[in-house]
């Protein structure tokens, strides 16, 4: 998700609101952080966000206010742009991987199956748009994963590989992420709602 910082310190009103308006219009998706140096400007920018149906998070630090506004679906919109550019032929197929093995029964077999699946996925046309990993599924995206090579190749082709941050945290694997990016429940829900999704 792209981050954009907009410094409105020292601006006379309604400078901060005008600048925020422009930044929001120019950003298709991502987080915009506006910095102001007085409370009136903070309140005005927060009002502007609300009037445009955008939530805002505010933190005060040393007499300055940092207002964070999120626009768009974040990672997915970016993934679409990137995949289109790289391949020109991506579907909007999404895979939701809920564990680090495929199928129920023997875990040993499950590992074999997931390796096979990922390898086959490399041949599928068009390539999927996004692969989401949750729960033990995130283990597939970290160092030492049995399918790291496949995922890395898919990523280089513009497929978005997204692993749930909460899950990585739980397994204490955040620092071991080896392919793709960290995502959150909002993006996951938005993604599977908007696209055809296969859950594994």
């Amino acid at each position: 998700m792209s981050d954009r910082i907009v410094d409105c310190r020292g601006m006379a009103c309604p400078g901060p609101v005008i600048t925020t308006k422009k930044a929001i219009e120019e950003t298709s998706s991502g987080r915009i952080t506006i910095i102001v140096d007085n409370e009136a400007a903070k309140t005005n920018v927060a009002k502007f966000a609300a009037a445009n149906g955008l939530g805002a998070g505010v933190e005060a630090k040393d007499g300055q206010y940092y207002i964070s506004i999120i626009k768009g679906t974040g990672q997915l919109a970016e993934a679409d742009d990137r995949s289109q550019a790289a391949i020109g032929d991506t579907s909007s197929q999404v895979y939701l991987i809920t564990q680090d093995t495929l199928g129920h029964g023997s875990p040993e077999l499950g590992t074999v199956l997931v390796k096979g699946f990922m390898t086959t996925l490399l041949e599928v046309k068009p390539q999927p748009a996004v692969i989401l990993m949750i729960n033990s599924g995130v283990k597939l995206a970290v160092k030492g994963s049995p399918v790291l090579n496949q995922l890395t190749t898919l990523a280089s082709r513009g497929v978005s590989i997204l692993s749930c941050g909460t899950c990585l945290d739980y397994y204490q694997l955040k620092t071991e992420l080896a392919v793709g990016e960290i995502t959150n429940m909002y993006t996951i829900v938005e993604t599977i709602t908007k696209h055809k999704t296969v859950t594994l």
């Binding site: 309604p14 609101v17 009002k47």
Partner: protein
């Protein structure tokens, strides 16, 4: 300057006693009144500020109307005025200054008064206004401190000029900005004339302190509590939407933190609250009249062309400046 800061500074000045001063610095009224003889009192006021619209001629008109307003708010008639001009000679062409002064002069002429002098100095940004002198009968002065329990409040112009001035700078809400500009350039002369036929207990004009601020001055000066009906407030078009979007001037927040005796009913929307604190430029007159005369006054104002005149609240009981907006 914030109201709190100004009050702090003024309180350090010694109060001078003079029996001819009918209205002086000690009460926060719109103009000073000095008795000359049994039939005539002199009324003096001064005001100037930086441009709130782009067009210099309109700026001159608005600044002049704003300065003259305080004379009308005392129930007086303007006679003479002096130009007060700050102008960046190096940065702006002389035509701009000419347009400002022309606007001012035409507005003063419209008021039946005359500009008899003035002063110009160089400054970083342009500022314009007038020092105005008027006359009134000593027994007919309208102060802002005579409101009584049971009186109704009548406001003659719509609110939201500060918010729309912000909108103008953001190039938004052109319709609201245009209506606001016309409203600001309108003299309070007609409204004052109409009200002379009624029993005015108190009068003030709504300017930089916002509606809440000037209502507070009236309430505190008259030692009463006042209730305002937010649904009855005349609002300039687009003002609510512009306020919701955050086009609220810093002055509104300054007024809000200073006016601690103003409370709101839960259902009053945030944007309307912002408008209540919004600093006005060349706003309308606010009259406190006996309840039985209020509706007639509003009708008379409408007939005279003061279309936005509205009954906006009433004096509830004795108090010390409590304002409740519902």
């Amino acid at each position: 300057m914030g109201p709190g800061d100004l009050a702090g500074v003024l309180s350090k000045l010694p109060v001078v006693q003079n029996s001819n001063v009918l209205v002086g610095i000690t009460t926060s009224d719109d103009a000073g009144v000095y008795k000359l003889n049994e039939t005539t009192a002199l009324v003096q006021t001064v005001d100037f500020f930086t441009p709130i619209v782009d067009d210099p001629y309109l700026f001159g008109q608005i600044a002049a109307a704003n300065s003259l307003s305080d004379i009308y708010a005392m129930g007086a008639t303007p006679m003479t005025a002096l130009n007060l001009v700050e102008f960046p000679n190096c940065k702006l062409p002389g035509e701009v200054l000419l347009a400002i002064l022309q606007g001012g002069q035409n507005k003063v002429a419209e008021a039946g008064a005359v500009i008899i002098g003035g002063h110009t100095i160089d400054d970083n940004e342009p500022k314009y206004g007038l020092a105005v002198t008027g006359i009134v009968h000593p027994d007919k002065v309208w102060t802002n401190a005579g409101a009584q329990s049971g009186d109704c409040l009548v406001l003659t112009k719509a609110l939201g000029t500060g918010i729309l001035a912000s909108a103008a700078r953001a190039n938004l809400f052109p319709n609201g900005v245009m209506v606001a500009t016309v409203s600001m350039a309108t003299l309070n002369a007609v409204a004052a004339k109409v009200a002379e036929g009624f029993t005015v207990h108190a009068c003030t004009d709504i300017t930089g302190f916002g509606l809440s601020g000037h209502v507070y001055e009236m309430a505190a000066g008259s030692k009463v509590a006042i209730t305002i009906d937010s649904a009855a407030l005349p609002l300039l078009p687009d003002a609510v939407e512009a306020a919701s979007m955050g086009l609220v001037p810093g002055g509104a927040y300054a007024n809000r933190s200073y006016l601690t005796t103003v409370t709101f009913a839960e259902n009053v929307p945030e944007a309307v609250r912002d408008i209540c604190f919004d600093p006005q430029t060349s706003g309308g007159l606010l009259f406190a009249v006996p309840a039985r005369e209020a509706d007639e006054l509003v009708l008379a104002l409408h007939s005279a062309g003061v279309a936005s005149a509205s009954k906006i609240g009433h004096i509830t009981n004795e108090g010390s400046g409590e304002i409740y907006v519902r």
